[in-house]
């Protein structure tokens, strides 16, 4: 396990390294903080993503990130108030 096929955790970390390249050209602290939120969201649901065992890595990552964002929305489904 984790040798022939990388575990989801390993594959995720590998992909997040690529995302770091993306983040290098972000220019405001707000964007960098928001980007950090995405990375945390991706890591928060490794147990669930591993359980699915999808061959599509990006599907699992996006699902994790979306869920992390969705759980921050108000429960009644209205759009969150804009920051600042």
């Amino acid at each position: 396990m984790g040798r022939t096929v990388p575990t989801y955790r390993q594959a995720l970390e590998e992909r997040l390294k690529r995302w770091d390249e993306f983040a290098r050209l972000l220019t405001t602290p707000e964007e960098r903080a928001a980007f950090e939120t995405l990375r945390l969201g991706a890591r928060r649901y490794v147990a669930q993503a591993t359980y699915v065992g999808s061959p599509d890595l990006l599907e699992s990552i996006l699902l994790s990130v979306l869920l992390d964002l969705a759980r921050r929305l108000p429960a009644d489904g209205t759009a969150p108030a804009p920051r600042r």
Partner: protein
């Protein structure tokens, strides 16, 4: 659990060893009435088997028959492998001498181009095969004599009488030029302690007196601390130097050459490098070295005796091998008992699969990311020996998975579909089931309040031993060289375990819990309404009944702190500390649990746990944080003052490589070089222990001091230890906003390491010769 039924034995079979003539084994029996140990040599040359196509075997037979190392070769009909459904013709080969078994087997393998022949029973030792062929086992109570021994009860008996073993501590003291606490390299034997007797005097008389004392006290077990690396080789080296041969000086019950039976080695296991000292044979007795035995430390003599009985391995072997070796030997014993044979090399490559199937199959258990912070009350539940129970319940074994006889089997691994046989119980479940039953029986027996302390200690040792064996049983399914392992079994076990945990999430919610954390076979659940918590025992019982797998209630935490990763701040699955309502702590992944922790850090953690322990819940815990910070400041002040006792500042480092392989000048290298100057070499997997004196120094002598060379008056480097303290404080209290750098700033820390320019030893010597005062350090 004392006293066995059945006829009184005449004797106990202690051990079977190989005889030096290569044609027989030696049976060591201890008479019940006199306690005398008898040596009986019995001629025994077990065969190994060669399977292959009829044509290849017909070609092979005459080529083997003419060889001088072959005593006998003939075709026989049997079912060699657990995968064979019908008996077939194989060749039975008996070597002239037992020691030639492997060499001869390699020849056969070569003749077959490494593909045409499958060999069986090659690497089981003649003693192991003798036990199995004669229904015997180590420490069996026996009747009869010599070659006609019969065990009075089977090896699997749970309630057996512990064999009457005489044990004696062995400790050798050398004399010679000492450096600190290091033993002298060229020392001579000054004293030997055997049991309660201490022998002293001129060296040769002393060694002869030791032989006399061994004959008089006649211990079965010699117990040492570091005997494999030190006491035994010291004795042999000095005996040889004085011209005493094996006939004049023997530690065992028969003369044997002063050579190790197994050389020292460093090896990697589970991501760590370990070191095992050479072992010297003491035939007729057992030498158990607490420092060279992973299992002895944990499972004690009673656990080892239990493992020896079940695995048919000698007690000396069990003590020095891993639990995995014991489990493999138990599988081998089970296979042979059922008339199968043991393949020499695993000849069952993993089958080809589509990549998406592999991704789906090759996954571990469910491991949640816990929330960071303090929680309570929290109930903890664990499945006892979950994986072995799954293997037994789902009949998971290499030969029962995807069998040809049950295409419509209803037992299928969730998500993967691997079928299990419904007709035959597999080798692994057959091996495991009695072990599980045995462990439960011992665990139940330990609860008896009237149990004598000695008997209780034995049962606890056996429970621990079995726990280790059961843990490795799972890992060995995935290990490519495991004889009876198969990767699909490993995958199936994980699939069943994932499904189980996924089912438990809604079950827990229905019971009035919410899931805080879960790792593979453990769950941490918080009552949804803390004022009316659910009945944890009832929940465990209902889950156990529904799944057929034993879920145990470990206890209720008053509070438990889940710790974050330094890198990203989310929770780490196995780093937490908490206190049960009973007042007992559970700590995972924090400093005090680690083998390299200094006394300072351990003391600090002890202080913190004593402080937080009585807190009734998360709110009370948080209220104590200011007090905790003040305590940390007190620790820091004393460290900074330079008055902390040096023996609590010793750092332990396990070497990942040989000492000459280091390329950077680390603290360990500095310590190793000082030890080497005293003639002590450390190998990969051994540890080095030292105190940091001045971490800015480029001189190996000034930078650290090895523990062995401490005089207790050294001045240490306060900043180095402030860093350790701050790191540990952050580990424990990080979730509450305690940051290492803030602490260091508050404690007046001098800043990170700034070293002067590197100067080679040659430069230092040169400047000393030039009469210039050396600034970086002196030789």
């Amino acid at each position: 659990m004392t006293g066995a039924a059945g006829p009184l034995p005449d004797a106990w079979l202690l051990d079977i060893t190989e005889s030096s003539d290569g044609r027989s084994v030696v049976l060591w029996t201890k008479e019940r009435t006199t306690g005398r140990v008898r040596r009986t040599a019995v001629e025994y040359r077990p065969p190994f088997y060669v399977a292959g196509s009829r044509r290849d075997l017909t070609d092979l037979l005459p080529r083997l028959a003419g060889r001088p190392t072959v005593e006998r070769v003939r075709p026989v009909v049997l079912r060699p492998s657990v995968f064979d459904h019908r008996p077939r013709t194989v060749l039975e080969v008996v070597p002239v001498r037992n020691a030639q078994r492997r060499a001869l087997a390699r020849t056969v393998d070569t003749l077959g181009g490494f593909v045409r022949f499958t060999l069986f029973d090659v690497d089981l030792g003649p003693p192991q095969l003798y036990y199995l062929a004669h229904g015997l086992y180590p420490f069996a109570p026996v009747v009869g004599r010599g070659a006609r021994l019969t065990a009075t009860e089977p090896a699997e008996t749970v309630d057996y009488t512990f064999p009457p073993l005489v044990t004696a501590r062995l400790e050798v003291t050398l004399t010679g030029p000492h450096h600190g606490r290091l033993p002298p390299n060229e020392g001579t034997v000054a004293a030997v302690r055997l049991g309660d007797v201490t022998l002293e005097g001129p060296e040769e008389d002393l060694l002869r007196a030791l032989v006399g004392e061994l004959a008089r006290a006649d211990p079965d077990v010699l117990l040492t601390r570091g005997g494999d690396a030190r006491d035994v080789p010291w004795l042999y080296r000095r005996a040889a130097a004085l011209g005493l041969g094996p006939d004049a000086f023997a530690l065992g019950r028969e003369p044997v050459g002063f050579r190790p039976a197994r050389a020292a080695r460093s090896f990697a296991t589970y991501g760590r490098i370990l070191y095992r000292a050479a072992t010297y044979p003491v035939p007729g007795r057992f030498h158990l070295d607490r420092e060279n035995s992973f299992l002895f430390d944990d499972a004690d003599l009673a656990g080892l005796v239990d493992a020896a009985r079940l695995s048919r391995l000698s007690l000396s072997t069990v003590a020095r091998q891993s639990p995995g070796t014991c489990f493999t030997a138990m599988e081998m014993a089970e296979a042979l008992r059922r008339g199968f044979h043991v393949p020499w090399k695993k000849n069952r490559p993993e089958s080809f699969r589509r990549a998406d199937r592999l991704v789906a199959a090759d996954r571990g258990g469910v491991i949640f990311v816990p929330p960071v912070g303090v929680f309570g009350p929290v109930d903890e539940f664990d499945f006892a020996s979950l994986f072995p129970h799954i293997m037994v319940r789902k009949n998971l074994s290499a030969e029962t998975l995807e069998c040809r006889c049950c295409p419509t089997s209803p037992i299928r691994a969730p998500g993967l579909g691997y079928r299990s046989c419904t007709r035959t119980v597999g080798l692994i479940p057959r091996t495991l089931e009695p072990l599980l039953a045995r462990r439960l029986a011992y665990k139940a027996a330990v609860k008896d309040p009237h149990l004598p302390a000695e008997e209780r200690a034995r049962l606890v040792g056996r429970v621990k031993m079995l726990k280790w064996i059961l843990v490795t049983a799972f890992g060995y399914q995935g290990y490519r060289n495991a004889r009876f392992g198969r990767i699909e079994c490993h995958e199936a076990i994980n699939a069943y375990a994932r499904e189980l945990l996924a089912d438990l999430v809604p079950a827990a919610e229905r019971a009035g819990y919410r899931v805080v954390h879960g790792i593979v076979d453990s769950l941490w659940l918080a009552p949804t309404d803390p004022t009316h918590p659910p009945d944890p025992e009832g929940f465990a019982r209902s889950v156990s009944a529904r799944t057929g797998l034993p879920l145990g209630y470990e206890g209720r935490y008053r509070w438990i702190v889940f710790l974050p990763a330094v890198t990203h701040g989310l929770g780490v699955p196995n780093r937490y500390y908490g206190v049960y309502e009973s007042g007992e702590f559970k700590l995972r992944g924090i400093g005090g649990r680690r083998h390299d922790t200094t006394g300072l850090v351990r003391r600090f953690e002890g202080e913190m746990l004593n402080l937080f322990g009585p807190a009734g819940g998360p709110d009370a815990f948080r209220a104590l944080l200011p007090v905790a910070l003040r305590r940390a400041d007190d620790f820091a002040a004393q460290v900074r003052a330079g008055t902390w006792p040096v023996d609590e500042l010793v750092i332990t480092h396990r070497l990942g490589q040989a000492s000459d392989a280091f390329v950077t000048f680390t603290d360990s290298v500095a310590a190793l070089r000082q030890l080497e100057r005293e003639g002590v070499r450390r190998e990969a997997g051994q540890t080095v222990r030292y105190v940091i004196l001045d971490r800015t120094s480029r001189s190996y002598r000034d930078r650290v001091r090895p523990e062995e060379l401490l005089d207790g008056h050294e001045g240490y480097d306060p900043d180095a230890y402030l860093e350790l303290l701050a790191r540990d404080a952050e580990t424990l209290l990080g979730p509450f906003g305690i940051v290492r750098d803030d602490l260091l700033a508050r404690w007046g820390y001098g800043g990170p390491v700034a070293r002067g320019p590197y100067r080679s030893p040659e430069q230092v010597v040169q400047s000393a010769l030039d009469g210039a005062a050396a600034s970086g350090g002196t030789f």
